[in-house]
Amino acid sequence: MPNEISVTVNGTRHTSSVEPRTLLVHYLRDELGLTGTHVGCDTSQCGACTVVVDGAAVKSCTVLAVQADGSEVTTIEGLAQDGELHPVQEGFWEEHGLQCGFCTPGIIMTLHQVLDEQPDPSEDEIRHSLAGNICRCTGYQNIVKAAQFAAQRMQE
């Protein structure tokens, strides 16, 4: 039996009918066409699907769409405001924090929340904050630098 849900995604309210088993990530990608959020695994290890739900970075492959009923969701598509990149996005571009780009939206959404909570993290704190995200291309070095760039930019 499909369930009706109402979710605000990137500031726009959507009312949809979904199967109870539909994952939030599939709802975002297949129903709303927001394909910037990626599916990298099926065991909640890789973090490619990370989005922000009501202020918390969550793995959208581990949340049912019905659980997001009434929530505010921000995806990678909603991060830049009025054509201006978020400092974390800027950091990734400036510091070459991405190569293939597949894990990138999830890592950006994770760091977006990390920096909200800890505006001036140490290198070690940044590395540990990425324990739920896997990148196979960058060796993480420039992702750490991107986070440091963003932290500095956000304090300016």
């Binding site: 394909t35 695994c41 065991t43 598509e77 990149l85 070459h96 293939c100 597949f102 896997i134 291309c137």
Partner: protein, 793 residues
């Protein structure tokens, strides 16, 4: 600044053109393709490593209300004109035919058995459970060495054994070298299989137009043109009726070279049900559906003199090919003996390479492909000799280096090293690391009972493939089309389709410098076979070397024609005739010496090329050039790496404290992109040394079969890598580039392995296999005691 003037971009840290779309969610990966009426399909895979398929009943699946079509092995294979093609067949090699699905017998866990198309992803997956297959399990072969024993079960009965090939050869006189030696070191070394795990799993979307027979395949591939060739052949389609598209590809590391069954199934299903179809691999599916890498057992004997000179080597290498050979996977193990001399002047080597079929998913290229296995052998051998002779590993390496003035240098295994200066790279690495201080620190640490290790390697590898002779039928060229439009903007079509390397940026830098146009005016188009006519693709660190040079060659033609058009325009301006030979192109402006005020721009030339009113009589309109370029030889980047590790005596856990990476890839177009390749390469090589391995049980089940069970490196595993470089341009291409995609991976594994063994050497440990997990090191510590003194100091 004069209009059109640009700064020198080659060698500059230019920010990537591809990033704005990738950091905002506008990338176009295969699974992002959504077509009207699109169905989804899922693949039923064999749960057995070896089993006869007695019967398969799909009636319940077909009756599912959302199911649109089902195909079994018999049906899909019947639709195919031929099996998977193989390239570069080796002398005396035997191999089984391989079709998209197993119809009568499954030969590895994960082999496709049937596919179901349905109106949703979930329904397709539901319907898989409704298919009933009667399997009859057969004896399983998992161990590559005993697989060729006389009493081993034979996977392909028609072949009579599990041997794909056994290739023996020698260079020089290894027996004499061993007879003259002061000593011999020997070891058996394991190269576990690794799971590539690019973060984007594989995916395929197909659309089939029944009225015309034209098909389009969106697919996660490193080489859309090879994919088109293989898929068209197998489906009996003309190549010009199949369009393959791969715009954004989320990493590959070699596992996206092969054309997989799902591409063929996708096109056949789209044709069958009359709707577009999509398949997207789950991560856990990836572990048994996408080829693995490495997988060798290496028997090494090395003869040395007391002064540390390596006199000769004898190698016996088993390679676990899995159940089938694919593309050129069978050739990869032969690169291992070919590269086994490394950066050293050894002349006497004997080798045997044994390619073996087992009941495992096929093996294929994984970042380095055959060369990491070679670097591992020779760099472990250098440390074994250092240990046996009581000499410093750095001194032993220097003693054996190919001299700096010996290049181009032909190795005893027939490789022609293009250029190198190993001492320069090593000097730099030692200097950055503070090697002497590190050794002093290690001595003090040992006095305090701590386990600290320093690993040093100097390695080389082969890349920049072709020429054609090195490619076994895949083609050794790359293609480029350079087009200047009426606004003077430049579009470049490249056959070297990237999957994260940043070619849209590095290639644009080359074009901007070469033509003198602004970087922003250059667009690089790739990954669509209906736009880019031909290409080979991205693997073996070849794209800059071969694809970059193809662009330069097309530019030459463009510049020649543009100068002729510019001459006509200048003549019109000055109302006089000009010798076209005197017209020069500098900073994007065409002018004649002595008349600096008279010039024409690319926009004027571009406009005139199509407007055509002032074109010389013998000149046709248009400003576009196509170039195919095949390199005359291979390139050999090299590196000197130093790792510092510590071992927790209680747990055996290894922590990487420092990593110094000095790499030489010849000319550098964009240092930031090169460093990115090195960072990522190091992470993969270090992961191989410390964490990663595919583990199988005796029934051929992959025990490390998900991201929960397979140890991928995370951010906290690494320190900040310390990078530097030397620049020794390659003489085999006009860019002087060598390639950097795989170098760091190749070096990192033996560097870290050497460091860990160095930390244990005073306990009498001479070799430990990778991955050097906490458990494995803890066991070594239990058997070798914790605080014995002696050994290398």
């Amino acid at each position: 600044m004069i209009a059109g003037q640009v700064s020198k971009l080659i060698g500059s840290r230019v920010k990537r053109k591809e990033d704005p779309r990738l950091i905002t969610g506008e990338g176009k990966y295969t699974d992002d393709v959504i077509l009207p009426g699109m169905a989804f399909f899922a693949v039923l895979r064999s749960p057995y490593a070896h089993a006869r398929i007695n019967s398969i009943d799909t009636s319940a699946a077909a009756a599912h209300p959302e199911v649109l079509g089902v195909m079994t092995g018999a049906e899909i294979n019947d639709r195919c004109a031929e099996p998977f093609p193989l390239f570069a067949i080796l002398e005396g090699m035997q191999y089984p035919e391989r079709w998209p699905m197993a119809a009568t017998k499954a030969n590895y866990v994960g082999e496709p058995i049937a596919a179901v198309a349905a109106s949703s992803r979930a329904a397709a997956r539901d319907a898989l459970d409704l298919i009933e297959v009667d399997y009859e399990p057969l004896p399983v072969v998992t161990d590559m060495e005993s697989a060729v024993d006389a009493d081993a079960p034979v996977i392909f009965e028609e072949m009579g054994s599990n041997l794909c090939y056994e290739a023996s050869d020698q260079a020089g006189d290894p027996d004499r070298a061993f007879a003259e030696a002061d000593g011999v070191v020997e070891a058996r070394m394991e190269q576990p299989r690794l799971i590539p795990n690019p973060m984007e799993p594989r995916a395929a979307v197909a659309e089939y137009e029944r009225s015309t027979g034209n098909a389009t395949l969106w697919v996660t591939t490193q080489n859309p043109h090879i994919e088109r060739m293989v898929a068209a052949k197998m489906l009996g389609m003309p190549e010009n009726k199949l369009r393959v598209i791969a715009i954004d590809v989320g990493g590959g590391f070699g596992c996206k070279i092969n054309t997989y069954s799902e591409s063929i199934i996708a096109i056949a299903l789209a044709e069958h049900i009359g709707r577009p179809v999509k398949w997207a691999e789950d991560r856990t599916e990836h572990f048994v559906a996408t080829s693995h890498g490495r997988g060798q057992a290496q028997y090494v004997e090395a003869a040395y003199k007391k002064d540390g000179t390596l006199l000769g080597m004898k190698l016996k290498i088993y390679a676990d090919l899995g159940a089938y050979a694919q593309v050129i996977s069978h050739v990869i193990p032969t690169l291992t003996p070919s590269l086994s001399p490394g950066v050293y002047g050894i002349r006497d080597i004997g080798w045997t390479t044994i390619g073996v079929f087992t009941n495992k998913i096929p093996y294929d290229a994984y970042r380095g492909a055959g060369r990491p296995e070679a670097a591992y052998i020779i760099e472990r051998v250098m440390d074994l000799i250092a240990d046996a002779t009581g000499k410093d590993p750095v001194a032993v390496r220097r003693k054996n280096f190919i001299p700096d003035d010996a290049f181009p240098y032909e190795t005893p295994t027939g490789m022609i090293y293009d250029s190198a200066d190993y001492n320069a790279a090593l000097d730099k690495a030692l200097d950055i690391a503070g090697y002497d201080d590190l050794r002093a620190e290690q001595k003090a640490a040992r006095k305090d009972g701590k386990l600290m290790g320093i690993g040093v390697t100097v390695t080389t590898e082969v890349c920049g493939f072709g020429p054609a002779a090195a490619m076994g039928g895949l083609g050794g060229f790359e293609s480029a089309t350079v087009r200047v439009d009426p606004m003077g903007k430049v579009t470049v079509l490249t056959g070297a389709s990237p999957h994260g390397q940043g070619e849209e940026t590095s290639f644009a830098q080359i074009v901007a410098d070469d033509l003198g146009v602004p970087f922003e005016d250059v667009e690089i188009i790739h990954g669509d076979t209906s736009i880019v006519a031909r290409g080979v693709g991205t693997f073996g660190s070849r794209t800059l070397v071969v694809g970059g040079t193809a662009i330069l060659k097309a530019n030459e033609q463009i510049k020649d024609k543009a100068k002729r058009i510019a001459t006509a325009l200048l003549e019109n301006k000055i109302e006089d005739t000009l010798d076209p030979q005197l017209v020069t192109l500098e900073y994007g402006l065409f002018s004649v010496q002595d008349m600096p005020d008279q010039y024409v721009t690319w926009a004027e030339v571009g406009s005139e090329a199509y407007d055509g009113q002032l074109l010389p009589e013998d000149e046709q309109p248009g400003l576009e050039a196509v170039s195919f370029w095949e390199p005359p030889g291979l390139t050999f980047p090299f590196s000197a790496h130093i790792a510092v590790i510590e071992i927790d005596q209680d747990t055996g856990e290894v922590s990487l404290k420092r990593y110094v990476s000095v790499d030489d890839c010849g000319t550098v177009i964009n240092p930031t992109l090169v460093e990115g390749q090195i960072h990522g390469g190091l992470a993969q090589g270090i992961g191989q040394a410390l964490l990663e391995q595919a583990v199988w049980d005796d029934e051929g089940q992959l025990v490390s079969g998900s991201l929960m069970d397979y140890a991928m490196p995370f951010a906290q595993e690494f320190p900040m890598f310390e990078l530097d470089r030397t620049v020794t341009p390659s003489p085999v291409n006009p860019l002087g580039a060598k390639g950097i995609g795989e170098m760091a991976t190749i070096s990192a594994t033996p560097t870290v392995a050497n460091a860990v063994i160095d930390a244990l050497s005073h306990l009498g440990v001479t070799h430990v296999d990778i991955p050097m997990t906490a458990e494995r090191i803890w066991r070594v510590l239990q058997t070798h005691g914790r605080r014995r003194r002696g050994g290398r100091s």
